[in-house]
Symmetry: C2
Subunit: 362 residues, 2 copies
């Protein structure tokens, strides 16, 4: 598989959909990636099956609040520095890059860096979507340590964290990221190919491309959202899916606080029923309730898309008056095990409710 | 020179005096140091003159707020970890330890660690006193980089910072220290013996011991404060000194905020003149004003001591009702150059006034 220049628009759009509100602005991710591909050529994308068990797989991502990331352009040298620092700590040069999460910036970034460094990029990630905190990965759930964890900023300052667990690494890293301006490059979870095969979620980069293409195709044939849902039903992970609301944004509370973009978005139905949906978010959308009734909850996907074009709307781009549909979808089974739900289910976000899968909600 | 078990009480007391309110609780510093000397023997204390220009001199200190440090006991393994991490980054094993500042904990800690590691400790430091921020050193003023900068906590977590300058290293380090609980071990300013000779302040460990002894001797002969002043007048740096107030603490504002212990202490004269002295502090005492008139200002020393025993009172130990004398003293000439005053003069603390030396104030 390869992701070429002509795929970038679809890939970034599909990534933003799986970002469920987070993962960064797809337009920025696309521009950065296109520049790298033009200059260095498209990197090879390899599946987890093709990956050498002895490969040194490193992640690269941007950490911060999406509201800040749109104001601070991507430099690239900082990302290279983060990877090089991690190599110097482990003593092993990277032989492949992999995204931590799928999102508008965080799944395009590894492609751009892989192009620049002449490395393959792995068609997998640790979230199957985007999450706000770094320990919320299948890597962490299935025993791959987050540390050593490197952060680097645009002044080419760097910080290397070796923490006792993923949660502590995230807390220290978040404090550093806030001090560095809340939009920094990170590289962490250095792992062997064998670890990636065991703890990574296979095929999520391909899924992002497929989702982006389905939305674009739907536009040419009249109904992007229906086409998107039809495509999701053919995927391995996201096949339990449905449109859970069709409305207009009538209220929005969004703060950049504690190192995140945190808030609540309320939509009102367009059918004059006065029905309302409230979606809470911490970078990513967490819970959707319609008139107080639960419609979908983390880790299942809750995605707000433009009701005409199907374009995913990230949390930093939410605006009063926008007409949007809300899509909910299932996540991979390895993200719904008890230990996975402990790590990134509702209680990990302070929501005192058991996880209920989208297919068990009406 | 050697600092033996029997000297520790005087040394910790004198260090606390030079700490000008900060540098940590001398009792804790003394206990930790005595334990190390009992177990490993007293380390050799060498002068800057004796130091090999090719020596690898590393610092070790505690970073945080003194109000927190009194509640979090010193572990020691974290300090060893900080030094070892710094060695692994520079690739050069430490051949001597040196304090960053003189203070109740921060000048005893290098003695304890030198004892444990079998290294000599250098009779010098980078502040000639204590300061609240890490870039406020003669090392930084005279061209020794603060980074690489290691922090380690009691869980043996570590963070390595490589920042563009001392101020940025301090800001990132402060954020990390706050996340780690605001009392962490640090090692930074790795330097050659030649750098220490050029940028260090010679003889400050000896001075601390001399000061502590002078106070103790004064107690045996009736007037610890007068004996202290007489001794200071014989020293190379602190000879411009005077008692600037004699009173009782009548008001105290102290907050642990922004990673520091920040506040204001007001004393009222005991002579019924109703004259008042207000001392502001950020971990260390910054400015003393009597009835609005400037009496002493940073970087000159402002020390609050018990009016009967001469025992230095650190900011976290200030209490309503305590009867105290306030001593002000000059600092080394290399701390009063224009570039030094830029780094740790009044404006570095947000006080919009030119520095006036104690000997030019009446």
């Amino acid at each position: 598989m390869q992701i070429n220049l002509s795929d970038m628009s679809d890939f970034a759009r599909g990534s933003a959909f799986l970002g469920t509100g987070g993962g960064g602005d797809p337009h920025l991710g696309r521009l950065f990636c296109e520049t790298a591909i033009r200059q260095y050529g498209a990197p090879k994308v390899i599946s987890l099956d093709e990956l050498d068990p002895e490969a040194n797989v490193y992640t690269i991502a941007m950490m911060g609040a999406p509201t800040v990331i749109v104001e601070k352009l991507i430099c690239g040298d900082d990302a290279i520095l983060a990877i090089k620092k991690l190599e110097s700590i482990t003593g092993r040069p990277a032989t492949a890059l992999m995204p931590i999460e799928i999102g508008g910036i965080n799944s395009t970034l590894p492609i751009a860096l892989a192009a620049r460094l002449g490395l393959p990029v792995v068609d997998a990630d640790g979230m199957g979507r985007a999450f706000p905190e770094l320990q919320m990965t299948t890597f962490n759930v299935y025993g791959v340590p987050l540390s050593p964890f490197v952060l680097a900023d645009e002044h080419l300052e760097s910080v290397i964290i070796e923490a006792m667990d993923g949660k502590s690494a995230e807390s220290i890293g978040r404090a550093v990221a806030m001090q560095m301006g809340l939009a920094v490059m990170i590289s962490c979870y250095p792992m062997k190919g064998a670890d990636a095969k065991r703890a990574g979620i296979a095929g999520t980069m391909s899924a992002a491309l497929g989702i982006g293409r389905a939305i674009a195709e739907g536009r040419r044939h009249g109904d992007p959202v229906q086409n998107l849902l039809s495509y999701l039903r053919t995927t391995a992970y996201y096949h339990h899916c449905r449109e859970i609301f069709d409305g207009k944004i009538v209220d929005l509370l969004r703060e950049t606080t504690r190192g995140f973009s945190i808030g609540r978005c309320t939509l009102e139905a367009l059918d004059h029923s006065q029905s309302r949906m409230e979606i809470t978010f911490q970078n990513e959308n967490l819970v959707a309730r319609q008139d107080g009734r639960l419609r979908a909850m983390v880790p299942d996907l809750i995605c707000i898309v433009d009701r005409e074009t199907g374009e995913p709307i990230t949390t930093e781009a939410l605006k009063y008056g926008v007409r949007a549909k809300v899509i909910a979808a299932s996540v991979p089974p390895m993200m719904r095990t008890p230990q996975a739900i402990d790590c990134f289910g509702p209680r990990a976000f302070g929501i005192d409710e058991d996880f209920v899968a989208i297919e068990n909600l009406t």
